[in-house]
């Protein structure tokens, strides 16, 4: 038979551990990217020429399909191909490429008069960054975070072609013998994860940036 829902019950623990693995492989790169993209984006946003060159370079990295990155990474770094670190590193590079763009755009969207009045009141650059610029840049950065998390969840499954892939392994399992159930389970779980994390970021955004709610959409 090609569809067997009882299979799910028989394999709950495997599905569960793949789910956990998937979340970790998708989220850790986002965290790493966030930590790198903030300072990097700040520095880039301060320049003009360098920014353009740098962002162009980032754009190129970004255009490389993730599978190609998964494969080239171990060969360049010298790690074992099956090492999950490859996936995390490759996805971190990817996520950073996207988030830097968001940080730069976000910081650049802060109106100059606002920055100037902060300086006029006596804020140093650090205080101005954390009290004024970043909060105002957050909507754009949060939007970037949502994009990164959702796409990472989908991209992780592609890694099954190189032996990893977490929930992607269920695609492999189903495809091997015309078995639809694992494929559907994996699709549903990944979409659910995407929805949940997207909503989570949105929730955090609503909580921490209350002034946005007054503005019309």
């Amino acid at each position: 038979m090609n569809l067997d829902w009882a299979w799910i019950e028989r394999n709950l623990s495997m599905i569960g551990s793949l789910l956990v693995e998937h979340v970790i492989l998708a989220l850790v790169p986002v965290v790493i990217a966030f930590l790198i993209a903030l300072p990097l984006g700040y520095l880039v946003s301060k320049t003009r020429r360098v920014a353009n060159v740098f962002l162009a370079f980032i754009g190129i990295i970004y255009s490389i399909p993730s599978l190609a990155l998964f494969v080239m990474m171990p060969m360049i770094l010298g790690t074992q191909i099956l090492n999950p670190v490859n996936i995390v590193v490759a996805l971190s590079i990817y996520s950073t490429a996207l988030l830097v763009r968001s940080v730069v755009d976000g910081l650049r969207s802060v109106p100059a008069p606002v920055k100037q009045s902060a300086t006029a009141v006596g804020y140093g650059w650090l205080r101005r960054l954390f009290r004024v610029e970043l909060p105002l840049a957050m909507p754009v950065i949060f939007a970037g975070l949502r994009v990164v998390i959702v796409s990472n969840i989908a991209i992780v499954s592609v890694a099954v072609l190189v032996g990893s892939g977490a929930l992607g392994k269920l695609f492999d399992l189903g495809f091997a013998s015309y078995f639809y159930t694992p494929i559907i389970v994996a699709l549903v779980l990944m979409l659910a994860l995407a929805l949940i994390f997207d909503a989570l970021i949105l929730l955090i955004q609503r909580r921490t940036l209350p002034w946005l709610r007054e503005r019309p959409a």
């Binding site: 399909p65 494969v71 074992q80 763009r101 754009v140 592609v158 992607g168 495809f175 990944m190 997207d198």
Partner: protein
């Protein structure tokens, strides 16, 4: 042979001319990959551009567009491909169909946004001098929207190049085949060849379309005056 060391000549598969010829050779796989890309992005454009123009111009249905691009990002392309091949076989039709579906959202979103964001003064002026609606669209909104449309096509192309790589898993065509065969036989140079060529293809297409977009932008803003309001600061799509 030690796993994954950079000391090994990773380029040796690419360097061997015998690997380039023949039905399974690099040229053929490259052409297949390019063919899939052009066909599916073309198909998507044929559907998405007119639809996007209508949505952008009339302002109706924009909710559809926003939700669509967010949802599309979440689709695991491998799962979709596998499902389609199991259900519809390995024919070129189903594969191009899937790729076109994945290419639709970026083009649709960009077109709608571009038309919507076309400089309102220019549009009003056009109406004021008596242009009909279709003329307004064709003569004013479309040229102004073109840069964004091209950026949408660019995102779509990258998405398709990436997904076509994965498609080799289910149908054996395209550059992804080098990756899969190389992985199965632990032939690192072959795997690297696949990854490298896919990356180069993506970068080249990205630069080409980027250049096209730059030209379109210059055409749209001849005096340097910004004629298009770019509503989205975030890249329109992410490639899988």
């Amino acid at each position: 042979m030690v796993e994954g060391t950079a000391g090994m000549n990773l380029f040796e598969y690419l360097a061997d001319p015998a690997n380039w010829t023949g039905p399974g050779g690099i040229w053929n796989l490259l052409l297949q990959h390019l063919g899939y890309t052009v066909a599916s992005v073309g198909l998507a454009a044929v559907i998405a551009i007119p639809l996007g123009i209508v949505i952008g111009h009339t302002g109706r249905g924009s909710f559809l567009v926003i939700g669509l691009s967010n949802a599309a990002r979440a689709i695991p392309t491998l799962g979709l491909l596998v499902l389609v091949v199991l259900l519809l076989g390995t024919g070129i039709g189903p594969i191009i169909g899937v790729l076109a579906i994945l290419a639709l959202p970026p083009v649709l979103t960009a077109t709608a946004a571009g038309i919507r964001g076309a400089d309102h003064e220019a549009v009003h002026a056009a109406r004021a001098i008596g242009m009909s609606e279709p003329q307004v669209v064709a003569k004013v909104e479309w040229p102004l929207a073109l840069p964004l449309v091209i950026s949408g096509l660019r995102s779509a192309t990258l998405q398709v190049v990436a997904t076509a790589t994965v498609a080799a898993y289910s149908s054996g065509q395209g550059l992804g085949r080098l990756l899969i065969t190389g992985n199965a036989t632990r032939n690192y140079p072959e795997m690297f060849a696949g990854a490298f060529l896919v990356a180069v293809l993506a970068i080249v297409l990205d630069i080409l379309l980027g250049g096209l977009g730059w030209l379109a932008r210059r055409h749209a803003s001849p005096g340097g005056r910004k004629m298009v309001h770019d509503p989205s600061k975030i890249p329109v799509d992410v490639v899988a």
